[in-house]
């Protein structure tokens, strides 16, 4: 196969299994204490800053980062075990998810020493939350067409004007990493990739308005963040001026490859397994087996990408592939289970399986859109195969 898709197997890790056991114990205690109940897709909808702080206290945020920035210098395999355990439990992890997954690593990679020291320890403590400032009202899949603009003042600061959309949980967050145009595009088909930069923007800055965008079930997770002459200090440029496109590409490898790209509907599968164990026939057992085999393959693939990221590689093509296959699976969990049980989906169902089906279905359109649509991802995979 083409080298862009081939990855070495992930190393087995005793340390990962040890921390996995600790997380299971922690989650059982939290559940017993009634601090959370399991839901589908909690990395989007389960905001609980106090829960995030408790994870920070346990050392389960910023796990792989250097200690001098509040990290814990654990391996990628240990972090993977923690994140997948939290997702499988349907725990409320949305508050810190973006900061821990991609904003922090982005700061580590491209941030200045001052930026890292000021922000990373707070992320690792579960006290500082981030949003992604990429999509705009007129720029969805065509990210390079963004129009949010930052202009330099005479004093070397930036003035930002424009709007970002689908910013998950901006109303609970402290910073956005905003992709802005800071210079003119270049010539040629890829010229638009030039002149883009990333800015670290404090969401409490004057001139910022955060307006809710409710999803189809009425839930408030997304926002429109409007920037009206927002002054951003010059030292809040992230990385290099004009290198925004390259930096965003690196960020997306973290964004696209994690277990949240195939475990969003796992709590539904777990609920289905309870039903099968109680009263399942052969067809239901086989359905559980088919879905589980798909999940196990995705998990191995995702683990390999985590290991590659840890080695400093940039597996952007496999990351796009795992997100395409994984999010298709997330939606298929609903369809396949409906094929073998007759339980009406309703948030008010007395049956927990009916409630899980309802949550998973109502969030389903998002799985294959967020973080890059599956059509865009397939294009990236095709390029990796050498077809584009």
């Amino acid at each position: 196969m083409t080298s862009s898709l081939t990855l070495a197997p992930a190393p087995s890790s005793e340390a990962a299994e040890n921390v996995r056991a600790e997380v299971r114990e922690f989650l059982a205690a939290e559940r017993d204490a009634g601090t959370f109940t399991t839901h589908v897709d909690t990395w989007l909808s389960g905001v609980d800053p106090a829960f995030s702080r408790r994870l920070g206290e346990r050392g389960w945020l910023g796990m792989t980062w250097p200690e001098e920035y509040g990290g814990h210098e654990r391996t990628a395999m240990e972090r993977y075990a923690v994140t997948e355990e939290l997702l499988a439990a349907g725990a409320p992890v949305a508050a810190h998810w973006i900061a821990d997954r991609q904003s922090g690593p982005n700061l580590l990679r491209y941030g200045t020493e001052e930026q890292r020291r000021a922000i990373l320890p707070r992320i690792a403590a579960g006290e500082c939350f981030f949003v992604i400032g990429m999509s705009e009202p007129d720029s969805g899949s065509d990210l390079a067409s963004i129009r949010t603009k930052a202009t330099r003042t005479d004093g070397g600061d930036w003035v930002v004007n424009g709007a970002k959309v689908w910013t998950s949980n901006a109303h609970h967050s402290h910073y956005a990493i905003v992709l802005v145009r800071t210079g003119p595009p270049g010539e040629g088909p890829r010229g638009r990739h030039q002149g883009l930069s990333q800015l670290l923007v404090d969401l409490s800055s004057p001139g910022i308005a955060i307006n809710p965008i409710r999803i189809l079930d009425g839930g408030h997770h997304f926002n429109e963040v409007v920037f009206d002459d927002v002054l951003v200090p010059g030292d809040m440029l992230l990385g290099e001026e004009g290198a925004g496109w390259h930096q965003v590409t690196a960020e997306l490898a973290f964004e696209r490859s994690g277990p949240e790209r195939f475990l969003s509907t796992y709590p539904l599968l777990a609920e289905f397994a309870r039903r099968v164990a109680d009263a399942g026939d052969a067809a239901a057992l086989a359905c559980l087996g088919r879905l589980s085999a798909r999940l196990l393959a995705l998990r191995q693939l995702s683990l390999r990408i985590a290991a590659a990221l840890d080695r400093g590689e940039l597996p952007d093509v496999p990351a796009a592939l795992v997100k395409d296959v994984g999010t298709t699976f997330e939606a298929d969990v609903v369809a396949e289970i409906r094929g073998v049980v007759d339980v009406p989906a309703s948030l008010d169902s007395p049956d927990p399986l009916g409630r899980a089906l309802a949550e998973a279905q109502l969030h389903a359109p998002g799985y294959t859109l967020r973080g890059g649509t599956n059509e865009i991802l397939k294009g990236i995979v095709a390029r990796g195969l050498g077809l584009r």
């Binding site: 196969m1 083409t2 898709l5 197997p9 996995r20 299971r24 997948e84 355990e85 499988a88 439990a89 796992y266 599968l269 777990a270 397994a273 309870r274 099968v276 164990a277 109680d278 399942g280 052969a282 239901a284 057992l285 086989a286 359905c287 559980l288 087996g289 088919r290 589980s292 085999a293 798909r294 999940l295 196990l296 393959a297 995705l298 998990r299 191995q300 693939l301 390999r304 496999p318 592939l321 395409d324 296959v325 059509e375 991802l377 397939k378 294009g379 995979v381 095709a382 990796g384 195969l385 050498g386 077809l387 584009r388």
Partner: protein, 360 residues
């Protein structure tokens, strides 16, 4: 002995060289297998890989045997290497039975109805007789020896694994979709060295066959993807290569997803087997995933190749027909999905996640 990555690359290179020296082999009514290829593989010691030297083999690890099997599967080689290296030899070894000469092709029979009766006390490896019909035997009529999984006498738990010398035995003529021999073997009081296996050990023999087919599917699907990408880059329509059309790119990306996900799981299942873990759940998952991939990859490869890929002249069918057969053999997705479902629930209704993290 542990094998380094470069040692394994060398093994794969050797197999490729041997394969390259043979014409692409076409199975038809007159030819049942590629005997000259087998002879060259045996002469190079490759048919004894994974078997310890003290047992008459060439040494090496399961991973080496898997690499050989995968390389030959991708090359549509008509030899019983998967059955010999990955199933029959390790199963006989685990049962404490003596292996035949590794240069002689050995296969495995898990289907049909065969009853075993002990000649002596039936305690431990010993002499047994077998009666019945072993069905859908891979390479029936080709393999000199068959490891037959037979029913134990009434009242005795488990199954019997017997090593049958096929000289003088009748086999029926039957082929799978790719033309590989899959006839039945008729046994009538046939004497054989055999051992009683506890149910878990018998289940592991079946799991090994399923995993072997998954290894073959994974390798063949990867090759089919490579052929498809090459074809899409070369074939011109409407003034540009097929691969420039988004609809074709989508097909290729879907195929890549199937191939990559399957490879990751099959590799992990092989590692689990190598670690000595109970391979049943891992093999079940690998066979289910690979079987589904076989269907998707074969269908899309034919769609991209167009009418030329539907011809006997074109090479594509050598692998797509194998994919269609291998997904059925050793138990299809339906069978193994149920096995996996049961295995995942053994810890109780709330144990699915811990069970999943234990499989591979």
């Amino acid at each position: 002995m542990t094998t380094t990555a470069s040692d394994r690359d060398l093994v794969v290179e050797t197999v490729r060289d041997i394969l390259g020296a043979h014409e692409p082999f076409v199975l038809d009514a007159g030819t049942a297998w590629d005997a000259p290829l087998w002879a060259d593989l045996a002469a190079a010691g490759l048919t004894g890989v994974g078997v310890p030297e003290e047992a008459g083999g060439s040494g090496g690890e399961t991973g080496d045997a898997v690499a050989i099997t995968a390389t030959l599967a991708a090359g549509a080689a008509a030899v019983p290497v998967a059955e010999h290296l990955l199933v029959a030899a390790p199963a006989l070894l685990a049962a404490g039975l003596e292996l035949p000469d590794p240069a002689e092709p050995l296969t495995v029979a898990t289907g049909g109805v065969v009853h075993a009766e002990p000649v002596d006390d039936g305690d431990g490896p010993g002499r047994w007789t077998l009666t019945g019909t072993a069905a859908e035997v891979p390479w029936a009529g080709v393999a000199r020896h068959v490891a037959v999984l037979a029913a134990a006498p009434a009242g005795i738990e488990g199954e019997v694994l017997a090593l049958v010398d096929t000289s003088g035995l009748a086999t029926t003529e039957a082929r799978n979709l790719a033309g590989e021999p899959r006839g039945s073997l008729v046994l009538g009081g046939t004497p054989a060295a055999a051992a009683l296996l506890p149910p878990a050990a018998a289940a592991q023999v079946r799991a090994r066959l399923a995993l072997a087919r998954a290894v073959q599917i994974s390798a063949a699907a990867e090759q089919v993807l490579a052929w498809t990408v090459t074809y899409a880059g070369e074939r011109q329509q409407f003034g540009r290569p097929l691969g420039k059309f988004q609809a074709i790119q989508t097909h290729a990306a879907v195929m890549a997803g199937e191939v990559t996900a399957t490879a990751a799981l099959v590799d992990a299942a092989v590692q689990a087997l190598d670690r000595g873990a109970d391979p049943v759940a891992a093999a079940a998952a690998a066979k289910v995933r690979a079987g589904a991939a076989a269907s998707t990859v074969a269908a899309l490869a034919h769609q991209v190749h167009g009418a030329i890929g539907f011809t006997q002249e074109h090479r594509l069918h050598h692998l797509t027909r194998r994919l269609w057969s291998w997904r059925d053999e050793g138990g299809n997705e339906r069978t193994w999905a149920e096995v996996l479902g049961v295995a995942l629930l053994t810890g109780g209704p709330d144990d699915l996640w811990p069970a999943l993290t234990r499989v591979v």
